[in-house]
Symmetry: C2
Subunit: 445 residues, 2 copies
């Protein structure tokens, strides 16, 4: 057997404890794969006196970050979460000659560039499989498994909280407030659920997926992000009538320049996080509860889909330990930097940038709430038509006398800017009683 790979563990919460459990429970398999043991040499915690899982070796705990580096780890594994002290500790670790494994998507989204630069200077690896999709090895797949292909688009369910909530609204016609309460009761949603239900968590993950798929950095706060809180159970019922499910998607698409020979020709990346309509028979539509799935469409391969548990103690910890094994294999061969951290040699990537969201095109689902008066539908279609938006299908619910009635339609392909302009006009009309709900449609299979 080769020498043990020495790990300094920064953080011992849920994921940290999961890592220690996996190292113990799967030891025989890990040793047979790596040809060496993985030995945890020190564990940084905030509080020594907390009750802990039996898998946690109490004698290795410390509250002093200096003790971790002093123990001489080969790999620093960061599962603290948040920006600090994670950032400072990882930079210090790189300087001390450690490779890095992290599950911290927020840190990478904000300080990734700085950390990757430091890793290049130190000639060390930074691996971060657990930052997106928990146990689904999607980062590794995009960096290596699909390396030969030109990726066209990504459609991903990468926020388990939102997917759990929309699954409940769809299957039980529950209200947004009810499913949020349930998700909080089960520990799937935080007391302040904004990061999840507002799409910001998914936007951070999408920013990482875009980096390793297309080779361009799109800061997560430049990604169009729309929450799931405007959905009502009736949207799921109407969508189903049209043959669609409603799913919380992170979407990215690469648009080649119309004239590739133009001096300012660049590839435009369309990117957003929002609830979408997708066909009921799409594989993604069968991804329910807290499960995640990432669908990648590429030039030669066509569609591929990767499905699994996107969060939770053990799935996330398994991804971290697989990363430790990867680094361990590099250490054994005395190599590092086999591929760029974000999969691309930046200087060789073609010019690329974010497409303004107003210029995105897709079919739209529109739910108007109107007074049931003669001529209303004619006026709606005239106004939509004036913005170049044509109607593909429409349903109108039974009206109760005196009550506002929903008018729901699917459009043909429409420019997002035109749809928003049309809705701004329509929502000011006297017979429109509530703001119109719009959702984008992605006809993936």
């Amino acid at each position: 057997m080769s020498d043990a790979i020495k790990v300094g563990l920064l953080g011992c919460g849920t994921v940290g404890t999961g890592i220690l459990r996996i190292l113990s429970e799967n030891r025989a398999d890990i040793v047979a794969r790596l040809g060496a043991d993985i030995e945890v040499v020190k564990i940084l915690v905030r509080d020594l006196d907390k009750a802990r899982d039996p898998a946690v070796p109490e004698g290795l705990l410390t509250t002093n970050p200096g003790d971790v580096l002093a123990a001489g780890p080969d790999v620093l594994v960061e599962v603290l979460g948040g920006y600090e002290p994670a950032r400072t500790l990882l930079l210090a670790g790189l300087e001390a000659g450690c490779h890095i494994v992290t599950a911290n998507k927020a840190l990478l989204a904000r300080h990734g560039a700085e950390i990757f630069r430091a890793a290049d200077v130190a000639a060390k690896d930074v691996i971060f499989e657990a930052s997106v999709g928990g146990g689904i090895p999607i980062i590794r797949t995009l960096r290596e498994g699909l390396a030969a292909d030109r990726i066209d688009s990504i459609h991903a369910i990468i926020n388990g909280t939102s997917n759990y909530m929309l699954t409940g609204m769809s299957q039980r016609a529950a209200s947004y407030a009810d499913v949020l309460g349930e998700a909080q009761a089960r520990g799937y949603a935080e007391a302040d659920p904004t990061m999840d239900v507002g799409g910001f968590d998914a936007a951070q993950k999408l920013s990482i997926l875009i980096s390793v798929s297309f080779g361009v950095d799109i800061p997560f706060d430049e990604i169009t992000t729309e929450g799931i809180d405007r959905l009502t159970p009736q949207d799921f019922a109407f969508a189903r009538q049209f043959g669609y499910a409603v799913k919380p998607l992170a979407v990215a698409k690469a648009h080649l320049p119309k004239d590739p020979t133009a001096a300012d020709a660049k590839i435009e990346i369309e990117a957003r996080v929002a609830p979408h309509l997708i066909p009921l028979d799409a594989m993604l539509a069968h991804t329910n509860g807290v499960f995640n799935a990432v669908r990648v469409h590429s030039h030669a391969l066509g569609p591929v889909l990767f499905y699994g548990q996107g969060a939770g103690m053990m799935p996330t910890a398994a991804a971290v330990v697989s990363d430790i094994i990867e680094v361990g294999r590099n250490i054994q061969r005395g190599t590092s930097g086999r591929l760029p951290h974000l999969a691309f040699h930046k200087e060789l990537v073609r010019p690329m940038g974010l497409r303004p969201s107003a210029e995105s095109e897709c079919p739209f689902y529109l739910r108007f709430t109107v007074r049931d008066e003669p001529g209303v539908i004619a006026q709606l279609s005239t106004l939509l038509g004036a913005h170049g938006i044509s109607i593909r299908r429409m349903v109108q619910d039974q009206s109760e006398p005196g009550k506002p009635v929903p008018v729901v339609l699917l459009t043909h392909l429409a420019r997002e800017g035109s749809v928003k302009a049309a809705l701004a006009g329509i929502d000011g009309l006297p017979f429109v009683t509530s703001p119109t709900c719009y959702l984008r449609v992605e006809d993936i299979h």
Copy 2:
């Protein structure tokens, strides 16, 4: 940019042509990822005069294998298929200092051990992603992405021909003969379809999946293999009544020893290829047509599923080119053998062997064909009961006077040996007019 990675291509049929197309069509992305060009230096073909795709550089063609090695390739890419001359050429390539990329599952299934040994002596890599699941990067995922976890089971649709045919039988109630004719007309099935419909192609692939999942070599001809030819459209209808789809599965499960401290304790691998019943709402049940999917269940991660096109020119070629990129990255770093060819250090794997199929246990679907006489069902259940087999659910079709009638049932968990013994007895009874159709049930989700 680094030096180009030089490739000698052995074979220029469908997949070989796909490789040349991808190298040309995706060149910008490949260069940006690898930091170097991939340059094909020589192409071995059987016939110089054939009409070829414009992506094939005619000047590089040769019919002399010696010309390929003389061109000094870094990587030898084998897409000839079959055993010879593939085996001899790869062994010569390793001796000449080439890394190997191959898509040849039959070759690996028969001569893998010899080729991997030669690669170890030469300190070169042998990579074979395209040998299983075409464009789905499942080998890489099992070797690296899931390296931290103890794999419990694999349920895989890895033969597109069978899945295309069973999808047709399920969706259109077509007969076996009709869907076979269609598959042949579309080029999805060979004139002699035995390898596909008999399950032998899937068994070769399953043997490779078992190697990289569990660390043990199970020769493909020791895997229980049952064809899809005994299915009738009514089996799909009955299965649906019970809430199941019928799918062509390759299954492998690891059973830990009951007493791990016993001197002869070993892990038993249950393995088979056969049509199975799986729940209608399982992700695998939505894998239709020529698509493949591999579901892996592991200790910490739970279920994960990988879905995509399992065959075809471009998906298979994309997998080969991703392998070339992986080898290229190793060449750039002067490394090789980062992990064992079949993912495990054999000397560290716990004792393991194939479980005799008679000892497998699962629920069974049984379709009896009987004369509609009083007491028939009582006799069937008595005989099953005598073999320790109990009935979970039963349906009996409307009978037409004088015609044999199907009696269909699902059993509780039953030992395969007991089921076969019971059927041997039952099929000899006077009121049983045709051999009983049995299918195994896998209650995966």
